[in-house]
Symmetry: C2
């Protein structure tokens, strides 16, 4: 068994309303930020999985998205494999 | 002015409690998914910005994170530039 760090990005489907994104867009305008055309908000799920292979890890994560993490009616998801356990992020 | 599609990933800082991640971890166990070691949940913000340069777009997004999007005490953020407007994601 190997350990895989997967990143799952779940976003509202294009064309669907995104109230949270709209609210953030409005707040950014109120704060004086200019040039913002669109804001969409999604969910980020970091999964640390033990699996025999990378393919199997991705397959399991796909099943997790279908059964629990994403709403198939309103959301799309994308799974990527991180080379190393996430460090939690830093400003780019 | 050019238009930039930025992806902002906001995650709970390592070591901090993540109740939503714990809840999802528990739910995955209940659904019979094996080999899940850890689950952390963050936020994904897609920003479409008009800015004179990529550097300026990233700088603005960094300010947005500091002032509104991320909680500096509990969260880290990372900003990446997408080459083209996001298509909303598909299963990998």
């Amino acid at each position: 068994m190997n350990r895989f760090q997967l990143e799952v990005r779940i976003k509202p489907r294009p064309g669907l309303l995104d109230p949270e994104g709209k609210a953030i867009h409005h707040a950014l305008d109120s704060l004086g930020f200019e040039g913002v055309d669109d804001v969409r908000v999604g969910k980020l799920v970091d999964l640390q999985l033990e699996a025999p292979s990378e393919e199997e890890a991705i397959e399991r994560a796909t099943q997790m998205c279908r059964k629990l993490l994403a709403n198939p009616v309103t959301e799309n998801f994308r799974i990527t494999v991180a080379n190393e356990p996430s460090d939690g992020g830093r400003p780019a």
